[in-house]
């Protein structure tokens, strides 16, 4: 069965410093992996998606993530944080055993950005 673990429930950075949000996954298949962002009282927005093509995936708003099979990791990074990046971030793996495409969510990481 697939699962995903977000290693930090809360990450705090200063504006202009790098962001690292950590995610490990478990899957018996070659997984599809996603990062979604959720701003307060808003829906989820797709940041980026990995589907067994290039291991370094570039997303929107300067975010990128690297798929490392040997480490079963899919960490999200951004070189320079902006105040508008403050939000909840979810690492997600797709469940291939479902008829549709069920998503398995991590518990989320709250990113705080201070000026």
């Amino acid at each position: 069965a697939q699962s995903v673990t977000q290693l930090d429930s809360h990450v705090s950075v200063s504006e202009g410093t790098p962001v690292l949000l950590r995610c490990n996954y478990s899957s018996s298949y070659s997984p599809s992996l996603f990062w979604y962002v959720q701003h307060p009282n808003k829906g989820l927005q797709l940041l980026l998606k990995y589907t067994s093509a290039a291991t370094l995936v570039k997303g929107i708003n300067g975010f990128e993530a690297e798929f490392k099979k040997s480490e079963t990791s899919f960490h999200l990074t951004k070189p320079s944080a902006h105040m508008s990046d403050a939000a909840e971030y979810f690492c997600v793996v797709s469940d291939l055993n479902q008829a549709g495409t069920a998503l398995i969510f991590g518990k989320g990481t709250t990113l705080s950005v201070s000026s």
Partner: protein
């Protein structure tokens, strides 16, 4: 712009009074999903439609029902809301024609339900 629309954005209902939440999409996607998200938690899948085929998650309470009258619309009916049903309800869609597991889900802005 193609998108997933949810109405209303905020809904207040009384304990035990039926309520219906609405979702529409202009993406012409085959699959539509309903998620429940409680405060500070990850979204939890309630059910999904693959075209007209309804798929209920095993632990979704009977109090929650759904209808999909056509490709564009999907409704979430809560027959007798309890205080524990207060949450954000998210609708999502996906194409459904990609290889299994590679489908991307696109989310609406959500409806925040308050139960008094």
């Amino acid at each position: 712009d193609a998108m997933v629309i949810q109405n209303p954005r905020y809904q207040v209902t009384q304990f035990g009074k039926p309520v219906t939440l609405s979702c529409s999409q202009t993406l012409n996607h085959n699959v539509m999903y309903w998620y429940q998200q409680k405060s500070s938690q990850a979204p939890k899948l309630l059910f999904h439609y693959y075209d007209k085929d309804f798929n209920n998650e095993a632990d979704t309470p009977d109090n929650f029902q759904s209808r999909r009258p056509n490709t564009s619309f999907c409704f979430l009916d809560i027959r007798s809301p309890g205080l524990g049903d207060a949450a954000m309800y998210l609708c999502a869609t996906s194409r459904g024609s990609s290889g299994r597991g590679t489908d991307t889900q696109y989310f609406g802005p959500g409806t925040r339900l308050t139960v008094l």
